[in-house]
Symmetry: C2
């Protein structure tokens, strides 16, 4: 039977081998489901929370607001991602958790997660490892932002989005739902929405990408990877998982 934490469990299993007792402990958690409209701030920088957000549907972002009011999104999270797992260990947010699209998420109480890993220490290691993956992705994006052109950054995002969607079992790495607007894509890639629009048109004209109706189809994935200088090592997927998804 389907349980709320199944998708998260699936994500953990990509990088951890878990015993059936450990799985059962996680699956036993029964968190509250919450829904929010696009643009809603689920957690604001400075907030003190007592639950972590497990994305169930839609896309959630980790965003930062500067003094001048402009928003930049540092990371995105799709179904199965616990976008907030670190809040268990550091309950004061240093950023905003924002619904990028209409979305549904579970509010998983810190208390329950702590109880689970106190009984099963290997789950604490698994949580740590999950944070490490998050950090690795962020690290990659620092260098992507600082070293690649806007076109390459967009291409890089598409490559990553595809693989992560595929890993979550929600699409394949060359055709996946993509419900973000150009303005949000701009926030994620550090460009203006106008410029993103132009570059998307270029990618379309070059027959690399076929966007449409909340979907992206990658027409020429090898070429797209090449122009993005894409190397998926940073996702820290096991060798076997990587084989399947590329």
């Amino acid at each position: 039977m389907d349980r709320p934490l199944d998708l998260f469990l699936k994500r953990l299993k990509l990088r951890n081998s878990l015993s059936s007792a450990e799985c059962a402990a996680l699956r036993a958690i029964e968190p509250r489901l919450s829904r929010k409209k696009a643009r809603w701030d689920i957690v604001r920088s400075g907030d003190h929370t007592d639950f972590a957000c497990l994305v169930a549907e839609g896309i959630i972002g980790r965003s930062d607001q500067f003094a001048d009011g402009s928003r930049r999104t540092a990371a995105f999270y799709i179904a199965g991602d616990m976008c907030d797992l670190h809040s268990v260990a550091v309950p004061v947010a240093g950023w905003n958790i924002t619904a990028l699209t209409d979305c549904a998420y579970y509010e998983v109480p810190h208390e329950e997660l702590r109880a689970v890993y106190q009984r099963h220490p290997r789950l604490l290691e698994a949580f740590w490892r999950d944070t490490i993956v998050d950090a690795s992705v962020l690290s990659k994006w620092v260098t992507v932002m600082s070293g690649l052109s806007a076109k390459q950054r967009i291409a890089h995002l598409f490559c990553e989005f595809g693989i992560r969607t595929a890993a979550a079992g929600l699409g394949s790495s060359d055709a996946f739902p993509f419900p973000l607007t150009q303005a949000q894509l701009a926030e994620l890639t550090g460009a203006t929405s106008v410029h993103v629009g132009r570059l998307l048109a270029e990618l379309r004209d070059e027959a690399l990408v076929r966007p449409g109706r909340g979907m992206i189809e990658i027409a020429d994935l090898p070429m797209l990877r090449k122009i993005a200088a894409y190397d998926p090592t940073y996702l820290l997927l096991g060798h076997s998982a990587q084989q399947m998804l590329l």
Copy 2:
């Protein structure tokens, strides 16, 4: 008496309260000290390591190399930082660990760290929390790279460098050793060395910063923070620590 892991312990104590048994267990570790010249790659992307690097002297960076050979540095680490702590949980590196200056570091065996946290589970939480701080800093830098001008990025780096140096007890937030060349500053801030040179000159002419002889003095810290839109929340320092350092 001074022990190799004392500086790291000091860092952990900024955000964790540790029992004397926990401290003693960490202090008992006797790692090998290693020295490297500037530009040396200590760990290369793809390497499988069995130790973590604790910086003792100098500056170590986490860097990424693109297909075209250009290097970008995603993060820097100073004395007391375990730049590699995550390698305990994920021993395959997804990036390079590079000596930015001549440096000394301890090679702390994963085995010993694991033994320590298996006996003292709260240390595992402390390690997790350390990774979370790392991720938080990386997250901030994604938005800094994507949203701020080159001048603001340099200012941001100086602000962070000062606070972190002060927190490690190696200087104050407005005057600290800064042994990086303009080319390395460029790699860290996502600009060319030429442009960094010009912007440094601007900052000097505006009497915001006084650089010299491997040192930085911040002449007008409030103003520098203002132009960088600097908000130190992301360093996840406790309220008390923050008071002392700002």
